[in-house]
Symmetry: C2
Subunit: 326 residues, 2 copies
């Protein structure tokens, strides 16, 4: 749940008067997004989402995130579209915080993804990757291979308190990944946080992608690897190869993998699992007991990591090389 | 903020299929109401509020609350209107909780009420009182004169830890009120919790009243007294007689006070202040330190109570007897 900032009605009315969307009819805090405050905004022109950026988002990076959504929306990717004010600006200030207004996106995140949802997700992700191709801005992925060791250092001393042997297991994994991380794969703007909460469906159809605040410039296949972890494991951490195959089929039907890219998938999936393991481990060890937000269990991601370690060939994910671009 | 229950998408779809409002397009938890979980529900037929009743509301009392809203809405009072399902029922079960769907009400609660807002509130409250006249159900006010002593007993031992001398001050006040509480004044269905959060405005115009979960059968003037306390004091606890006059003028322009009713106002205002003092005192002493919800300061209401104690005549509230029905 995320409503951190209280917005006085007079301040809201003044802010909205800089937009060509009529006056405010209703304004309600909504439980969506973890990093920011989000509000349902109903004006004479329709329904919108107003986002206030709280301190976890670096204001200097907002032009990249907002610009990317604007760029993708213009290329018909269904994502929140920033609304420009009368000065053609998409970013303003409200209640002392950076603020932006977005189109209201229909759809709901789903609890239990079926293979058809995974296929839709694969397609939409590939379309998003292609649509980002000519976006002019870039953002280094702070949570990729270069960022993992410094992040690990913050938890190293106490990792074994979570699970015996975890420190050395991470140390080995990290060294292996640092040695073998691919240097050159197709890359561009990726979402980097495509968990089920951030994908909306209407029935079986994908209706939109939200929450671009981890988006960055990195390997396309790394985005796919994050989704293999987030969408294709069952609650008992068993890997559902039907869902993986559907995800990869959906993706490659829009943007075929290169041979080299495809075969890096198990390694990227290990890296993606380590990335979420490390952030969760850090949160687990630092969030005070009894805090408002319960940190997510880091062990979920060590299990996912171990699964991918045993994958010898990317075709084990269910997609034959026949489907790969040559 | 109030979203306590997680609603699975499949359960929601099944629930909505019993209504003639099309299928679900969006569903988001909203930060409104303290006792229940509220969701924005967008369907093919429009926007609604779905309420799940959490354990603080007694399910046996829901037919009264929901019935009252239905009755008032039918009499053109702007309040959430319960939507009936295909079996003509307004109350169902979702995610194991009692649930109801209401019309979406435009407007926003205001931070700083002006006298014009108080006048609008007075009018709307009187219209609501008149519209409730022929409602067939009744509900005893558990938080009126008979309920205060048992409530006080729960905090009596520790009241002095909040403010020295508070125990004896409440004891004296309570005895005086028990002796002098009027036996017979115009009564009917009242809201009993008309704080600024529960009244929506669009600019200076009142657009709706929400949150009827303290509604009950009691003196109309007691509802007015609650509003004198909630709307007519400044943040420094000074009494704004211009706002009080506007509130009473607005009210009596729709439903004139009887002479006896009007002159009981200072006493009822003391009672209303004691009622909120006692519930806040109880919450203050029982809510654990560091809890999610910060309890409201009981001292606000002891100050209000003391103000009314010095009011010798109801006309001190700014309304001359010329405005009263003879």
């Amino acid at each position: 749940m995320a409503v951190y900032t209280d917005v006085p009605d007079e301040a809201l009315a003044a802010f909205i008067s800089h937009y060509d969307i009529g006056s405010v009819l209703a304004f309600k805090g909504i439980a969506e997004g973890v990093e920011n405050s989000n509000f349902l905004l109903h004006t004479e022109a329709g329904y919108y989402i107003l986002t206030l950026y709280e301190k976890r988002v670096n204001p200097a990076e907002l032009p990249y995130f907002i610009g990317l959504m604007e760029h993708l929306a213009a290329a018909d990717i269904s994502c929140p579209t920033p609304i420009a004010n009368l000065d053609s600006e998409t970013l303003g200030t409200l209640a002392g915080k950076p603020a932006a207004i977005y189109t209201f996106l229909n759809g709901m995140s789903i609890r239990r993804a079926k293979a058809t949802h995974c296929q839709e997700l694969g397609k939409a992700m590939a379309e998003m990757h292609l649509a980002g191709a000519n976006f002019s801005m870039h953002r280094k992925n702070a949570l990729s291979i270069d960022g993992w060791r410094p992040l690990f250092e913050l938890s190293r001393d106490r990792a074994d308190t979570v699970c015996h042997g975890l420190t050395s297991e991470i140390e080995h994994e990290l060294s292996m990944l640092e040695e073998n991380w691919p240097k050159d794969r197709p890359s561009g703007e990726i979402h980097a946080d495509l968990f089920t909460d951030n994908v909306f469906f209407l029935g079986d159809e994908l209706s939109g992608i939200i929450d671009f605040y981890f988006a960055c410039t990195d390997y396309f296949a790394y985005d796919v690897a994050i989704c293999l972890n987030a969408w294709c494991f069952e609650p008992d951490e068993s890997f559902n190869v039907t869902k993986a195959r559907a995800l990869l089929k959906g993706y490659s039907s829009v943007r075929p993998f290169t041979e080299a890219e495809f075969h890096t998938l198990p390694l990227l999936a290990r890296g993606a699992a380590l990335r979420f393991l490390l952030t969760r481990l850090y949160d687990w060890l630092t969030v005070p007991k009894g805090a408002l937000v319960t940190p997510k269990d880091p062990m979920e991601y060590i299990k996912k990591l171990r699964f991918h370690r045993d994958v010898t060939n990317a075709s084990d994910y269910g997609l034959g090389s026949v489907d790969i671009a040559s």
